[in-house]
């Protein structure tokens, strides 16, 4: 890996205004001061429960929702953009450099367009090709990489299974030759036997095309197998980030630990061994004070209720954790 940083977010926040009228205006902070670096050519995983803000963070980095605080820089070696300020022609240019693969391949494809037209649409909309022949050439090229054949291109999406549809979505996202791709729960709707196939394809494309992926998922075992680096979010904050292996071998944050322990084990004799997390993720409009996790944390003390922990460097390279007590809790005695 080159070690260059493709995206650097610094205190990035996304807030949505909810409620109408002058007096009950409220800001819902979906992403709250996230600082994160995504290395060029990496497969960056983002995990968390629903409501943790992972999708919003992904969209903010694509400039698909307005950034309301902080900064995010994009630098692919050719161009540099400040994502918070981005607009006009620069934004148009960024659109072809950063793409999104959706979760549901059934909803993402228009039933009235042929597969060829679906894949070609981004090229036509962004005016990236000058002739139909050139468009066809590009479509065929990316389709082949996504294991779709010429016969497939003439058909309509309804004729395809979930796995094939997801391959069509991937081809559509990659046809404009992007550098940065956000895959939002892209295998969540697929069956297990197909899921592995799509994950292998994404990895292969990342290597061959030199892409940088942000892989958003709630499935930790999928993330463990595909990503190089993982960030864990809770209520809009980053609570822990580390290289995959470090994180899975030695999680430092109580939330990460609880998440791992909640994955149902394949061993029937492991029943009852999981460490249960009580309660549910609080509503983002009514966030707890101090450490946002303290309402569910089995290790919370008084300090956690008042003071919000910031990300601190843990022992391993690239491992950061936001917890007041990580040292005493998970350090070998």
């Amino acid at each position: 890996m080159s070690g260059d940083i493709l995206i650097r977010a610094d205190g990035l926040s996304v807030g949505f205004q909810i409620g109408k009228g002058m007096f009950n205006k409220q800001i819902l902070k979906a992403v709250d001061g996230v600082t994160v670096e995504i290395e060029k050519g990496s497969f960056f995983g983002l995990v968390g429960e629903s409501g943790s803000g992972k999708t919003t963070l992904g969209r903010a980095l694509l400039k698909a929702v307005p950034i309301t605080g902080g900064h995010a820089r994009y630098d692919d070696g050719e161009v540099q953009y400040d994502l918070a300020e981005l607009g006009g022609t620069e934004l148009k240019d960024y659109r072809k450099r950063a793409q999104l693969i959706f979760q549901d391949p059934y909803a993402a494809l228009s039933p009235r367009m042929t597969v060829r037209d679906i894949i070609a649409e981004p090229l036509e909309v962004m005016g990236l090709t000058s002739s139909r022949a050139e468009t066809d050439e590009k479509v065929r090229e990316i389709a082949a990489k996504c294991r779709l054949n010429l016969e497939h291109l003439r058909r309509f999406p309804h004729a395809f299974s979930g796995g094939q549809r997801q391959r069509i979505s991937i081809a559509r996202a990659l046809v404009s030759d992007p550098k940065f791709v956000v895959a939002d729960e892209s295998v969540a709707a697929l069956d297990v036997s197909i899921q592995a196939d799509v994950l292998n394809l994404l990895k292969e494309l990342q290597r061959d095309l030199g892409l940088t992926f942000m892989f958003i998922s709630h499935d930790l075992s999928v993330v463990a197998h595909t990503c190089d680096h993982v960030a864990v979010m809770y209520l809009g904050r980053l609570v822990e980030t580390a290289p995959t292996r470090t994180l899975f071998n030695a999680p430092k944050h109580p939330y990460t630990k609880a998440l791992f322990s909640a994955i149902p084990s394949l061993d029937p004799d492991d029943r009852g061994k999981t460490q249960k997390l009580e309660g549910e993720i609080p509503s983002p409009t009514n966030q707890p004070s101090g450490c946002k996790f303290h309402t569910r944390c089995p290790h919370a003390v008084d300090r956690c209720k008042v003071e919000e922990p910031s990300l601190q460097h843990a022992e391993a390279e690239g491992h950061e954790v936001a917890c007041h007590r990580w040292q005493e809790l998970f350090e070998p005695a």
Binding site: V192, S193, I194, L220, F260, E278
Partner: protein, 332 residues
């Protein structure tokens, strides 16, 4: 222990404009009281259709073969489920002795009626009781499944609850009539892992407490390993393997079950490559001949896989498989 429900030779087809589609083909199994069965399969494998058949709940275009028979054993009588016709007769399998929990709790509650009203309504339908008594039971049930402030929640609408809470309310509602059999169709799929763990725990407690049989439909083998006593694996409407949960998960016999397990990302070995089951699930309109799995199978043994439907073969201890790999006619 005595049998709770027996399914024999269940074959179910749907009449569509494109012809007859076989959804379930000659499936037999039985469930005892207090037993938890995991029904595993991919989308289109016929697991939900099978479960709905137990409540005679499939759409009007469903055609059951004459050999299909589903018998529900109640304390005082036996019910031939597929012969039930009148709504008054069907009540016993629809919310009476059999209850169902669906995958998407938001879609299963009526949005414009309070949770409480829906609970009371079904209790009054199934049990002969006063409204006040029904309310008392409902609130008690909501409390039992871990919903705090049950009195307040009783008067709320489904959209006011979070996903995990909604699924708990769904469970409370399904159990308030004290069914003998609970069918849970992907009850935790829409939930986060932490909430999933809570719901699984809750369901396990309730089985012990109420001593009912559960059919747990899921595609998640981890969930099955943590909940079920026995597992049945379905593929394209065929029951291809069944057995006690330990045997099926540790020593899967069918190439499909083996494929499913190796396609699953495992946390204890991050270097293991993900091995997908090759190919896609065939469309039900193009049902393969012979063994339905042969188009994706890596262990095809010969012509018979393409031509003949494999017979059931019994391995050790209630573990059985339908595959040509195993010797023919050795049925114990």
């Amino acid at each position: 222990m005595s049998s709770l429900i027996d399914v024999e030779n269940l074959t179910l087809q749907f009449k569509t404009d494109e012809g007859l589609i076989t959804a379930v083909d000659n499936v037999s199994f039985s469930l005892k009281k207090g037993e938890v069965m995991g029904l595993v399969g991919e989308s289109g494998s016929g697991k939900s259709v099978t479960a709905k058949a137990l409540m005679h709940l499939n759409a009007r275009n469903a055609v059951y073969s004459p050999e299909s028979k589903i018998t529900l054993h109640l304390d005082d009588r036996e019910v031939d489920v597929l012969s039930l016709r009148k709504p008054s007769e069907l009540q016993v399998v629809r919310g009476g002795a059999i209850s169902m929990i669906f995958q998407e709790p938001m879609a299963s509650f009526a949005p414009a009626i309070t949770i409480g009203k829906q609970m009371v309504e079904q209790l009054m339908l199934h049990g002969d009781m006063s409204k006040a008594k029904a309310k008392e039971i409902s609130v008690e049930m909501l409390d039992r499944v871990g919903i705090s402030d049950a009195h307040k929640r009783f008067d709320q609408y489904a959209f006011e609850l979070s996903g995990g809470m909604r699924q708990r309310a769904m469970i409370a509602m399904a159990l308030s009539t004290q069914p003998k059999l609970l069918i849970a169709d992907e009850p935790t799929t829409a939930l986060d892992v932490t909430i999933q763990a809570q719901v699984i725990d809750l369901m396990k407690d309730l089985v012990n407490e109420f001593h009912m049989g559960i059919i747990f439909i899921t595609h998640d083998l981890g969930v099955v390993a943590q909940t079920a006593d026995k597992v049945s694996v379905m593929y394209l409407g065929e029951l291809i393997e069944e057995g006690p949960v330990r045997e099926v998960i540790r020593t899967p016999a069918h190439p499909y079950t083996q494929g499913l397990l190796s396609a699953l990302p495992k946390l204890d070995d991050l270097d293991a490559p993900l091995t997908p089951v090759p190919g896609d699930i065939p469309s039900p309109l193009e049902r393969p001949s012979g063994c339905v799995f042969h188009t994706r199978c890596s262990q095809v043994v010969g012509d018979q896989c393409m031509k003949a439907l494999p017979e059931r073969y019994d391995l050790d201890g209630n573990h059985s498989v339908s595959c040509h790999i195993y010797p023919k006619g050795a049925r114990a």
